[in-house]
């Protein structure tokens, strides 16, 4: 620690930081632009000027940039000194010369860091008389708007996009006062993390384009703390709503999970909430087969009939823990199926058993970023759990930071570190079935069928610790070379990380990953093992468990059992023919959000809330249970799935089988399953400063608008929320000192933009003031410190042998493979046509080229051929989960050319999702 004197006050701050970081961590106000808490300093904007005094007697001091000054014990500085304040005002005055001052029509207005800093510095009277420069803007695709006239040339966008996120198609062009930030030509931004530009850019240059199509000021948005439903990472988000429309999703800082950034699936994937595919009314299928809106009570009465017909309940990895719990309770353990497909369920059980055993840490994303050597085994994280890929990109910089430290360059000095270390990267090894979009930072890559990936993994574990069985059949020379490199790099790392997941569908890949981690542990390093499933609550529903597998449930349905299917399109879970048979034989109650193939077979259909319209819990890849709160009340007859189930339970048994509200359900759920579920977020009677509740709306929320005046000139009356600590109004306090799980938006006096997040943190980039939310549900076994006792998976699979028939392996697309986000219109615009990856030789053998169509038994549709160098001969990577694509079973099939295939026009297969 160091003591520094700021304007006469002493502060204890951390050493090794820059002054800007230090004073903001003390919650002091000091304007800045180019510095970013996750990206460090470059000293471009000159906004953060302070006066530094040489010693106690120095009265004049020297002006310097806080972000470029090391914290030194005993130093004396002034933020308030007139020379510094005047200079900071001048910086704004300069930036404003060419700024269009179009705040009233700017999407950033009201949450603009430039507005805030302008007010903070006090600049108000314009002296510059010249004309302003103007620019042509670019069409950057469906996600990001572009309005270059607003640019203040802070360089944050390119630093984020290129340096941090590894993108290549956004650049700084030109020089002097004519700098341009954009692409070399119009076109969608290629990075899967482009959406963060919206929050990184301190002005209205890069804005959320879907948001702009139905724009609302930040102060008129209602939000609540929530969790992204897009994948198993569980990034914390602020979904925001107005008048029943989901307007946008922004990052909600979590010190251990997503930090400051989301992926584009998460940010732009929630517009399904406003989709016209939404199921909005309860309905019953009449005798003539026609489906009729029936009103909730009739539907419930009908549902009750089904439940009494010995119904099976099929839950879902995309429904909340609580909703699954409710359904399980309704049908009973033996009649409940988690809703996971058989194979996925088996993989998840395996992954959870490995985590339970311990032996290796389960890393948060912060831990991922701290790894000093990484092996990715099989999982294409960029497409299955995207935010992990962004964390991996930061981890590979460990080497650069070490080099910088040796050269005496502080880690926060971003340009210095990058310039000094150049292309130096820490070890990252990727063994995958196809090329990935983080290959560019890999030390080496290796391609093989899933079983061969498992074999390489086994060989690596054996190389580290010979008590692990090795693949006794020889690997290719490339495989051996890869293996030796990995063994050397992991073996000498202090914090090695193994990343794998259920994406390839092969359990041996998970086993091999566990073996490598455990072998490292036995060698005395501190390995982490990350095993990611595919969906937001995969682990949650698996931890809940059920007596029926998907096959069991489908069999029961085919045998005539009624079924309650909750938030699950069964066609994505099991063989299409079996699902069809089950759906047509069974009377089904379907509770869901969007219309889908399963819902078409429903006897009773109930409209379920999305994650933004209800409160619940998702359990992420770490088994971190995270609470999301209802942001707004759904329209029409839409209700949370658990609420429907509660009503059905009440109708079945009037003695109070249902739950009065979500708190009661959470309580019961916690008692019956994991106690932590009751403590991961505050209950409804939680009160903050002054005994008040927490507002969902910022205090400037205006009731004065003509938006709905043709309906009524009155604002709708706010509902009283007795289920959560939040108000559906602007009443209450959101000072940031409350429980970290109960921050509904970030705002602080003078800080209207998301930059205000530091006012909610214990220190810049650290934990939230009220603690980072969530709790891990899987506690490793007590003796997990001793890896020698871990189960060793000693069966190594056989090598893959190519045959005439192709081995089908699932591959994933960030934009398209997730069931809900692939109905979000901006995502749809970036979605590839259904594709199949082949290597060049196989494509030749089949007589096809990229862009041709192929099909095969079980594929259902024709897929567009994409050539991928890494796909091994005899294998075809078939994209998983695109709309209209049913579950595709693993196995070998004959491929045939579809001569009538018409390539979908307008797609950008080169830049979307697949490398």
């Amino acid at each position: 620690m160091a003591t520094i004197n700021v304007d006469g006050q002493q502060y204890e701050v951390k050493e090794g930081q820059n002054l800007l970081h230090a004073v903001l961590s003390q919650q002091l106000n000091l304007p800045y632009f180019c510095w970013h808490p996750a990206m460090g300093s470059v000293g471009a904007c000159r906004q953060c000027a302070i006066i530094q005094y040489a010693d106690e007697d120095d009265e004049r001091g020297r002006l310097g940039m806080a972000c470029m000054t090391d914290v030194v014990d005993g130093m004396r500085i002034s933020i308030a000194a007139p020379q510094a304040a005047d200079f900071r005002e001048s910086v704004i005055e300069w930036l404003m010369e060419n700024h269009p001052h179009d705040c009233p029509v700017c999407e950033e207005g009201g949450e603009c860091h430039l507005q805030d800093m302008t007010v903070m510095t006090g600049h108000s009277v314009r002296k510059y008389r010249g004309t302003k420069r103007t620019w042509e803007n670019q069409n950057l695709g469906p996600f990001i708007g572009h309005e270059m006239n607003r640019c203040i040339t802070c360089f944050r966008c390119v630093r984020y996009y290129r340096d941090y996120a590894g993108g290549t198609d956004l650049s700084a062009f030109g020089s002097r006062s004519r700098m341009y930030f954009g692409r070399s030509e119009d076109g969608p931004l290629e990075s899967e993390f482009s959406g963060n530009l919206v929050e990184v850019c301190p002005t209205g240059v890069f804005t959320d384009k879907p948001f702009a199509t139905h724009y609302t000021r930040k102060w008129d948005l209602q939000s609540a703390p929530s969790v992204c439903p897009g994948c198993a990472v569980g990034c914390n988000v602020f979904p925001s709503e107005r008048y029943g429309v989901l307007k946008r999703v922004q990052n909600r800082y979590h010190g251990e999970v997503n930090g400051y950034f989301l992926c584009d699936r998460g940010r732009f994937g929630s517009h399904f909430i406003n989709s016209d595919q939404r199921i909005r009314h309860a309905g019953i299928r009449a005798e003539d087969g026609v489906f009729e809106a029936s009103g909730a009570s009739n539907a419930i009465a009908e549902a009750v009939k089904l439940v009494t017909m010995d119904a099976v309940g099929i839950g879902s990895p995309r429904a909340s823990f609580e909703a699954n719990f409710a359904l399980k309770k309704l049908v009973g353990e033996e009649r409940f199926c988690t809703g996971l497909g058989d194979n996925e369920a088996m993989l998840i059980e395996l992954a959870l058993s490995i985590q339970r055993e311990g032996g290796a840490r389960t890393p948060s994303l912060t831990d991922v970023e701290a790894a000093d050597a990484i092996l990715i085994l099989g999982e294409d994280v960029l497409n299955t759990a995207p935010r992990i890929a962004l964390a991996v990109r930061q981890a590979v910089r460990a080497e650069a930071f070490t080099m910088a430290q040796e050269a005496g360059i502080p880690g926060w000095q971003d340009a210095g570190v990058r310039g000094h270390a150049q292309q130096a990267l820490s070890p990252l090894f990727i063994a995958s079935v196809a090329t990935t979009r983080i290959d560019d930072v890999a030390s080496a890559t290796w391609g093989g069928a899933p079983q061969d990936i498992a074999r390489v993994g086994a060989a690596i574990a054996h190389g580290i610790d010979p008590t692990y069985a090795a693949a006794d059949v020889e690997l290719s020379a490339a495989g051996i070379d890869f293996m030796h490199q990995v063994i050397a790099a992991l073996g000498s790392a202090k914090r090695p990380l193994i990343v794998s997941g259920t994406g390839t569908g092969d359990p041996d890949v998970l086993r091999a990953a566990a073996n490598v981690a455990w072998a490292l542990k036995a060698k005395g390093s501190d390995p982490a093992l990350l095993l990611s499933p595919l969906e937001a609550n995969s682990y949650g529903v698996a931890l809940l468990g059920g007596g029926l597998s998907m096959s069991d449930a489908l069999d029961a349905m085919t045998g005539g059992s009624a079924a309650i299917v909750m938030e699950n399109d069964l066609y994505r879970r099991g063989d299409a023919q079996r699902v069809s048979a089950a759906c047509s034989e069974s009377k089904m109650l379907v509770l869901d959000i969007l219309e889908n193939e399963t819902a078409e077979h429903a006897t009773v259909l109930l409209p379920a809330s999305t994650y933004a319209e209800c409160t619940g819990t998702y359990v992420n890849y770490e088994t971190r249970a995270q609470r999301f709160y209802q942001v707004f009340e759904p329209d029409d007859e839409i209700r949370p799935a658990w609420r429907w189930i509660s009503d059905i339970a009440d109708a079945l048994d009037s003695s109070g089988a249902g739950w009065a509200n979500i708190n009661v359900l959470i309580e019961e759920c916690a008692k019956a399953t994991h106690a932590a579920l009751a403590t991961i977020s505050p209950p409804s009677d939680y009160r903050v400063e002054g005994g008040t509740r927490i507002p969902r709306q910022p205090h400037r929320y205006s009731g004065r608008t003509a938006m709905r005046a043709q309906i009524s000139v009155h604002e709708p009356k706010a509902t009283v929320d007795d289920e959560t600590p939040f108000n559906y109004s602007m009443e209450g306090q959101n000072l940031g000192t409350q429980d970290g799980a109960a921050v509904p938006f970030v705002w602080s006096p003078g800080w209207n933009s998301n930059q205000s997040v530091f006012k909610f943190q214990q220190e810049v980039g650290g934990a939230l003031l009220g603690g980072d939310p969530g709790a891990l549900l899987v506690a490793p076994a007590p003796d997990s410190g001793d890896a020698s006792r871990a189960t060793k998976f000693q069966e190594v699979p056989d090598a893959f042998v190519a045959t005439e028939a192709f081995l089908v392996v699932p591959v994933h697309a960030i934009f398209g493979s997730d069931e809900l986000s692939n109905a979000s219109w901006p995502i749809v615009e970036r979605m590839p046509a259904p594709f199949a990856l082949l290597n060049v030789a196989d494509a030749k053998r089949l007589g096809v080229q990229a862009g041709a169509g192929i099909s095969g038994p079980g594929l259902g549709a024709s897929f567009e051929v994409l050539i991928d160098d890494r796909i091994p001969a005899g294998m075809v990577g078939v994209v998983h989960g695109l709309p209209g694509i049913r579950a595709i079973a693993a196995g070998r099939i004959d491929l045939s050319v579809d001569p009538d295939f018409i390539r979908r026009p307008g797609g950008h297969p080169d830049v979307i999702a697949r490398g």
Binding site: V42, G43, A44, C45, R46, Q47, A49, R62, L63, G64, M68, D86, F87, S90, V91, W94, L95, E97, N98, K127, Y128, R129, G130, I152, T153, F155, A172, G174, S175, R176, S177, R178, M179, M403, A407, G408, I409, Q413, A415, G416, G419, H420, A421, Q422
Partner: protein, 434 residues
Amino acid sequence: MSLMDTKPLLGRVEEVGGLVDLNAYEAGQGYEAARKALTSMSPEEIVSLVKDSNLRGRGGAGFPTGLKWSFVPQGDAAGEGAKYLVCNADEMEPGTFKDRFLLENNPHVLIEGMIIGAYAIQAEKAYIFLRGEYHQPYQRLVEALADATARGFLGGGIFGTDFNLDLRIHSSAGRYICGEETALLNALEGKRAQPRTKPPFPPASGAWGRPTIVNNVETFCNVPGIVRNGVEWYQGLGLTEDAGTKIYGISGRVNRPGLWELPIGTPIRELVERHAGGMREGFELKGILPGGASTDFLVEEHFDLAMDYGTIQAAGSRMGTGTMILMDNSVCPVDMSRNLQHFFAQESCGFCTPCREGLPWVEALLLDIEEGRGQEGDLEVLDRNAQFIGAPGNTFCLHATGAIEPLQSALKYFREDFEEHIRTGKCPYHRRHL
């Protein structure tokens, strides 16, 4: 005494009467110093020698060359990988043309200086970063490098030692900021020509993150003489406390504009009157920018001062490149300031706010004033901008500091001219041009 003893840089050019090719260069003791250095001196000895000589960088800042070289880690301390020696031949400072003259006429003295420098810091890779528009110097350098390589002075095993030097020319894409040594290194690496944060300084982490020395053309050209004739001789060349000779240049309405290699410390008036032949008939000297466009004006009271680093600095300006721009009584100080600010605003790299946005404002205001649209309060705005843009440390690099030097001094020495423009709404000088 040959001319080489009093004019180690250009004496041979004078003797030969133009381009000193390899034969001519060798005939005048050429490459003797390099041979001596590589075959009989240790790198440390050379660094000490250059330190003791008191050679100061001729690129503008006057930083002691030997001291800079001593910052380069040697042996194991240097870590793995190459070290680099870079010659800054970007020379885009308005009014400065000394390096060009050296390159066009005496390329081998530069190459020899670089061989010695490279050996001193044990760099086996060297670049000459050449101003893009310097076509003839480029040709001459290409030929000189080929000749020197053919003679075994470059390449592998120089002078039979195990020292190798790979010396290449990099022709710049053409920005003034590429002369700033760290922007130069970025440009050399193929990145945006934008300065780097210091520290790390190039001797610790320069080109491609490796130890690197950047020196000006003229600086390197001083080195062979020092090695050949020793420290005492070198220090004896200077008239004041600085050592060696300096190439001084003069542009403006004098009778004989040009450049001359003279003892460092030659007084300004002697340069103007004796070497440049005095002012042209009908023109009076009003002010000078002593070391290129990015230095403060000096006026009548300073004309008897010696042109050396300390003296000029004490007078409130900088010796800079030592090539002066003269302003006579026919030149409007406002217009001259505007012209200079146009250049600096245009050459801003765009990285930091005060320079990028401040200089164009300054330029626009000066244009307004020059063209009669000046308003009350404009001088205060200029003062404020000059103060905030110009203070070292306020901007990311010294480009903006240099840009403001001529303006702040013009505002000080020629303030009445500015005021008259605003008061009368026109430029009093334009009449004289008619």
